[in-house]
Structure formats: C-alpha cells, structure tokens
Amino acid sequence: MNILVLIKQVPDTEATIKPGAEQKSIAEAGVKFVINPYDEYALEEALRLKEAQGGGKIKVVTVGPERAKQALRSAAELGVDEVLLLKTDTASLDGLAIAQVLSESVAKESFDLILMGKEAIDDGNMQVGPMLAELLDIPCLNVITKLTLSGRQVTAEREGDSGVEVLETSLPAVVTCQKGLNEPRYPSIRGKMAAMKMVIAEQTVTVSGDRAVVTGLQVPSARSGGKIVGEGAAAVPELIKLLHDEAKVI
C-alpha cells in the first residue's frame, strides 16, 4: 500500500509569537519550528498501517520554505521511505492554492491513502484536506480519531460533542487526523542517525498567494486580572453598572 502523508512545519506550540516585518507575518528569529502536531498523528498512523501490513511505502510531502526540510528530516527519523519538499517562499493563507499545488504533485503518482492533520496549528484553516480530496475526486474523512482498514474498505470514527460517528468509504481516500487517533512515537537513534545523512528531495513550486492575504497581525492584549466587586446581593447593582458602563456588554 502506498501512503502519502502531508505535513506542515509550524512554530513550536510553546514559542512566543511576535509580529515581524510590516506586521504581516511572524518574526521567525528565535522561534523553534516543529511538525504540526496533528500531522504527527498522520505520520504515526501511516507507520502503524505499514507495520501492520508488513509492507508498503510511506512518502512524506510538505509545501514550505527551505527551513521546512527540518520537518521532513524529523519525519525521516521515524523511518519513512521518501520525503519531498515542494519549495516556495510564498506564505499563502489560501487553502485552495496549497491544495492545487499538492494535487498537481500527487496526481503524478498513485496513492492508496492520503493522511494529514485535521488542521495546521499556525493558521488553523482546516481547508487543505477536503479541497485536495475534491481536486483528486476521491472521498475525504475528516477529523478522524480511529481508522481501520480491511482490504480496500475504510472504517473511521469521528468524535463529536454528542457521540461518535462511524464513517465508511473505500480507498483511495483522504483522511485528516485528530488527537486521540494514536500516540506518536519517539524515533529510534538508528533512525535519527540515518536521517542525518538523508538527502531531502525538493521541487520548486509556485503558490498563488493573492486570493486571501494577511493585512495585519496583532498580539492580543495581555489579560488583566479579574475584579471582585463585592459579595452577595448588595454587589449586584455595582456589577450591572460596571457591565454596562465599563465592559459595555449589557
């Protein structure tokens, strides 16, 4: 089975994010970049499927700048078969543009299963998965917490507020992964050492970056502490006054 895993390199969840040049992108100095955490579930699921089936191929592709090679290297440490950087310096917010670039690249090969995170934690668009499936004209199962393969038959679960949906389709398909699907592994040192020597393949691509643009970034203002107005019924008039005059919510 041929599995394609799509990943994105994003700032570390713990990084302090500050607006950079012209307040339109983030300042990258001192920021650590990691594989998007939801994409790690996709990587882990691909590795588990390959192990369970005792064969197959895993290819990992990302769209991004030169630094995204580090994310591919981290993926390579886990023991995937092939990695590819679709290189662009355009930071596009446009999900469709990314999906188009990916679909052109992916269409050249045939994959049974395309796995990716449900969303990237930096822009949180949640668009690329379904759009890519649409462009490839294959089904898409979104936000999946359990995945079972039986031959070409796919059964997946999606957890909602009120219960679990069970979805079925057949391969090829796009599956976007949600926390809870699995617990991503830590690479073996042999894997790490092999990945250090790996040559990362790259192709330059053009991403149209003008259909949706960032006009400005702002840091949310620091939270001020809560205020205790008083106690019991006596405090109610003061509370209402403040909610009306100061917070302007009533």
Partner: protein, 662 residues
C-alpha cells in the same frame, strides 16, 4: 600420617576437588571475559590493592551497615584466613607426621593460638547467623521469593560448623594421643580434648582418624561447592572491590556513536566485563534491597534481583557464551521486566550499601539505553520530556525564550554582556521554569546581589544539562546537549560554575569531563555557607525554629556535600538540624531522580509520601532542601498527605533570605 592407600585416596580426592573448582571458576571467568574491555579498571593498581586489602581485611565491607552480622561475618572471614595454614598442615600431616608449614617457633605457636580462638568464634558466629537467617528471617536475605530461596546458605553454615567441630575434635584427640605439649597455646582444643579424654587409646585413635578424614573431605566438598553458589564471593568479592569504579557513585560512561551500532545492552556480551563480574560477586545479602526506595514502596525493582537474575541468565547461557556464540535470548522480558528497569531513581543507595561495590545503576541504565535508543520503548511520559529537550532545551517543554522570565524585576547579569566574572551561575531548567524552583532562583539572586558576588547567568544560551536524558537512557540526545553546553561554557571567562541544582552540579563537575569540559563547580549551599562564614552575608541567628534537612542524592551520596547546608541551618536556628531516621549517606530519595521526575509513579506507594512522613516524624515544622526536584517532591508530599499545618518545605536559600539582616 596415613598409609599408602590413604595417601592415594587423599591425593585423588584433592585432584578431583581442585580440578572441578578450577573448571567452574574458569567457566565464570570466560563468561565475564565476554564483556567489553574497559581501560578504567586497571589504573593505579597499587592503590586499588591497598584499598581492597584494607576494606576486606578489616571487614569494613561487612560491618559498615550491619554491625552485628558484620562482626559475625568477620569471625568467619578471619577463621578462613587462619585456616589456610591449618589446612595445609592438616594435608601435610598425611605425609609427614607433625608437619608444620611455619616450622616449630613462636610465630607458629601464635598463629595456632589464633586458629584455635577463631575456630571457637566461628562456631559461635555460625550459630548466630543461622539463628538470624532461619528464626528471625530478615527480609533483606529472605525476600523476594523464589529467587532468594536457596539452600546454599544452609549447606555453607553446616559445612563451616562441621569444619570447625571436626578440627577441634581432631586437635583434642591428637593432644591426648601425642601428649599435651601444645596445650598451652591451644586452649579451645584443650577443652575438646577433655571431651574425648576417657576413651581407650584404640577407640580414640579410630575417632581421630574419622575426625581427620571428615575435616579434609568437608574442606574439599566446600571447595567444589563454592563456584556454583553465592559463596563464590569469597573470591569474586575482593576481586570486585579491586576493580571498583573510582568515580563518584552512579557516574555513567559515554557511548562512542561512531564506533558501535548497538547502543546500550540487549544481550550479555554488550556489557563491559565488570558489569558481568558484578553478577558473580553478588551475595544475596540484600543490603541494597533494604535501602532501595523503589523496593521500599512496593515497586517490582530490587537491586539484588537485578544482579542475581542476570547471574542465572549468564549461567543459563554459559555454553553459548564460552564458545563465542550469542546468547539465545535477550536479557529483558525473560530475566528482567521493563517495570523493574524504569523504577530506578538512580539514588545510589544500593551502590553505597553494597559490600562488594557492585554498580547497579550503570547496569540498569545500560538496559534503559537499549530500550530508549534501539527500541524506542519507554514510559510514554518520557516522549514529551525528550521532545521538550530537543525543541526547547528543557524537559518540561516550556518555551525556550521564557527561560529568563524568572529574572524579571531583578538585577541578574547575563554572561554575554558581563565580561569576566567569578561565578558563572548555571540556573538549570527547574530554576528557570518550575514555579517553586523559580522562587529559589530569585532567592539566590538576592543573596548574590546583597553579598556583592561577581556572577552572571548564561541567559538564553543556557540549556538543560542533559541529566534527565542520560538517566532515562537517551545517551544520544544527552551527548549532543553535553557537547553543545561544553562549547558554550568554554567561550566565557569565569573562575567557577555555581549551580542551584545538584543534578547540574554532578553533570558539569563529573560527567562533562567525558566531553572535554573540566570545570570547578560549587553548589549554592557551599557558596552561601562560605559567604556567611566570611561575614559577607549577615543572617539573624536563632531566627528559625527546629528544622530538619533532606539530603539530595546527587548532592550527598554522589558528591558528598553534607555539611554546608547543615552549617547554614545551624547559623539560622542556633542549633544543628534535627536529623531524620535516614540522613547523610543513608538518606532516602525523594523519588524524582533518574528521570523519574518526568514519569508517572503508578506502581506501589509514593516515594515522596514516605519521605515526607519521615520528615514530619522529626517533629520539626520545617524541612530544608537543596535540590529543586526534592523541593517539588516534598512540597507535593506535604500537600497530598494533608499535613500543611504540620510541615513546610523550603530550599536553604529561601530560608537564608527569610532571615537576612537588612
């Protein structure tokens, strides 16, 4: 003197016994030789020999932790030494009547006075040891079952008892048969002579021959029994002490990643030879088990089982090992379980207690290394810690750029802008990210500023010292971090490194050497004690009520810093701290070492609760610590056991700040 038939039987018996003994010992030597070469074991041979003779000769090894059984053991040991000559004379007597190795002189007489007395003392000791083992049944030597259920002890006690008894009866009979010329310096044999005095000469002669033969046959039987039993320690024990590690307890050795494909230990030949030698030196005495925090709190780890189980494994695989082949199975799962190797807090109490100076911690970490690096199989929680170390250079995975957030509002100089300083203060991850330890960092900064100490911190150039990675078996990650840290440290000018965390202290002082970093390191309690002594820091004396002190393993057992924190407490409270039941080198771990800080403690009871209760039992209202992990564990222990009214915990630096003279 024996007749020709007797002599031939004797010589054959000796050849068989000696041959079997040598064969069995050589088998074990060949198994040990399957381990890897280790150059560190042969340096300073004269010093090693002297240390071995002193420690074994004075029986410090046995007496140190168990005075009563130790003294009993010393009787048996000295009995063994004195009897070497007696046994040679005994055998020589078969060929030449009245044979004496030393000849007839005062030295010989004195020696045999010694033999006579130790024979009696050994008899007493054997009875005492048997009573202890079979009536009082101390857990250390009788648990856990079934591995400690060995008939070996009964056989050995019976043999030694028989040896002494037949010797004394034989001597007594000889005394009567040959006239009592040597009675003066053999008081005990003289007494046994009284027992057989009434016999007819022919009967006495027959009995004498019987005592003579039973004695020598028991000697030879014992010889054949030794190699296959834990009593091999009378050879392997002293050898093991000779080849002891000369580094601080628990110090780990690096892996050369260029030269090997196997990281850590999966099968026996992956060990260094000394690790395997340890397995054969173990006596099942359980001193290690008695002090192990994991064992004490119901976890499946016992340090002695780690040794004994692998000895069984080695013997099980003996055929393959001595013929140069590979063992048929790996050590883990059949012989040891993951829960055992991950339960270790690397506190070092086992190594401190071991009479033959076995090195349990490096062995356990070798097994962890294989698990962590070759198999990526370790407690789930470590995944986050390893990733945190990789991405944010701290095991909590907090944003690296907030490493210096604790300095807000304080005047803390940064190394890159400070030029040359006296102390480069290595704050450590806990001191930078953990709220409780951040308060300690602020206290230390205040002390340094007030005393006018020249210092600076690395700021964002500081990264984790790597201790959690190394102790959790991720040597690869650790070695990258250590190399990088040594490089950063070497580019600055300073006299000493100051650490607020004993783990950083140990790593930088003792383990960074392996990566080319030679640094003089001081712990903050040492510096503070010195500042108070020299008058640079003035504290209110008697400002503090009764206080107890919890020794951190890495400060105490690992680096033998016991007095500095106590001196400070003495200054603050006007009296020495109230000691807990276990203190100094016998201190009981808080439960957070060995990477355990970052793992769940789901088996047995909690180590920190046990220690907290011990601190509360002193009656002191305050327990002082000098380690951020201990602080955290004890604070949690106090809250979780609901004794916040009774007991509080502070780092020594916080107590000092609370009692500073302004």
């Amino acid at each position: 003197m024996l007749g020709w038939t007797g002599r031939i039987v004797l010589v054959l018996a000796i050849l068989i016994a000696l041959g079997y003994f040598m064969h069995e010992v050589w088998l074990r030597v060949r198994i040990i030789r399957r381990g890897k070469h280790d150059v560190k074991r042969w340096d300073r041979p004269a010093e090693r020999l002297g240390y071995m003779i002193g420690r074994v000769g004075a029986q410090i090894c046995a007496i140190k932790d168990r005075p009563f059984t130790g003294v009993m053991h010393a009787f048996v040991f000295w009995g063994f030494i004195f009897f070497t000559v007696a046994t040679l004379n005994h055998v020589g007597g078969a060929f030449k009547s009245g044979f004496s190795l030393f000849g007839k002189n005062t030295f010989n007489d004195l020696w045999f006075l010694g033999v006579d007395v130790v024979a009696a003392l050994t008899l007493i000791a054997v009875i005492a040891l048997a009573v202890r083992r079979y009536i009082f049944k101390p857990a250390g030597i009788t648990q856990p079952q079934p591995i400690s259920r060995s008939p070996h002890s009964a056989i050995v006690l019976a043999l030694i008892f028989g040896l002494m008894l037949t010797y004394l009866l034989n001597q007594g009979a000889e005394m009567i048969l040959k006239g009592a010329s040597f009675a003066a310096y053999m008081p005990v044999s003289k007494a046994t002579a009284g027992l057989v005095a009434g016999m007819a000469p022919a009967t006495l002669h027959a009995w004498n021959l019987f005592f003579w033969w039973s004695h020598i046959l028991m000697v030879l039987g014992f010889l054949m029994f030794i190699p296959g039993s834990k009593h091999l320690h009378l050879l392997s024990g002293p050898v093991n002490i000779f080849f002891r590690s000369r580094e601080p307890i628990g110090t780990l050795q690096p892996i050369d990643f260029e030269k090997t494909e196997q990281f850590g230990v999966s099968t026996l030949p992956h060990y260094q030879w000394k690790n395997i030698s340890d397995f054969f030196a173990c006596i099942d005495c359980g001193r290690c088990q008695d002090v192990c925090p994991a064992y004490a709190t119901g976890k499946p780890l016992s340090p002695k089982v780690v040794m004994m189980s692998q000895r069984k494994h080695a013997l099980h695989e003996a055929r393959a090992l001595v013929s140069g082949g590979e063992p048929s199975e790996s050590i883990m799962n059949t012989w040891l379980t993951p829960d055992e190797i991950w339960a270790c807090t690397t506190c070092g109490a086992c190594m401190e207690a071991c009479p033959v100076m076995n090195e349990h911690i490096p062995t356990l970490i070798d097994l962890r290394r294989n698990k962590a690096m070759m198999e990526s199989d370790f407690p789930q929680e470590l995944n986050a810690a390893f990733r945190g170390l990789e991405t944010n250079a701290n095991p909590w995975n907090m944003g690296h750029d907030s490493r210096t957030a604790w300095t807000d509002g304080l005047n803390v100089p940064i190394m890159s802008q400070a030029g040359e300083v006296e102390y480069l203060w290595y704050v450590g991850c806990a001191g930078s990210f953990d709220d409780r330890a951040k308060a300690v960092s602020r206290a230390v900064a205040q002390i340094l500023n007030q005393a006018g100490v020249s210092y600076a911190i690395l700021g964002l150039e500081e990264k984790c010292c790597g201790d959690p990675a190394r102790r959790a078996g991720n040597e690869y990650l650790f070695s990258m971090m250590a190399m990088e840290n040594v490089q950063v440290l070497q580019q600055y000018k300073f006299r000493k490194i100051l650490t607020t965390c004993p783990h950083g202290y140990h790593m930088i002082k003792n383990e960074y050497k392996q990566f080319g970093g030679q640094f003089e390191v001081v712990h903050h309690t040492e510096l503070i004690a010195e500042l108070i002594k020299s008058g640079k820091l003035k504290v209110n004396q008697n400002g503090l009520d009764a206080v107890t002190f919890h020794d951190s393993c890495y400060l105490g057992r690992y680096n033998e810093i016991y007095q500095a924190p106590r001196d400070i407490l003495q200054q603050l409270s006007g009296r020495a701290p109230v000691e807990m039941g276990r203190h100094h080198n016998k201190s009981f771990c808080c439960g957070a070492g060995g990477g355990r800080m970052f793992m769940e403690e789901s088996l047995g009871t909690r180590i920190n609760h046990s220690r907290t209760e011990e601190a509360a039992a002193t009656g002191a209202k305050m327990v002082g610590t000098a380690c951020p992990f201990c602080l955290s564990m004890l604070d949690d222990g106090i809250k979780e056991t609901g004794i916040t009214e009774k007991l509080q915990v502070r780092d020594i630096a916080q107590l000092v700040v609370e009692h500073l003279q302004s």
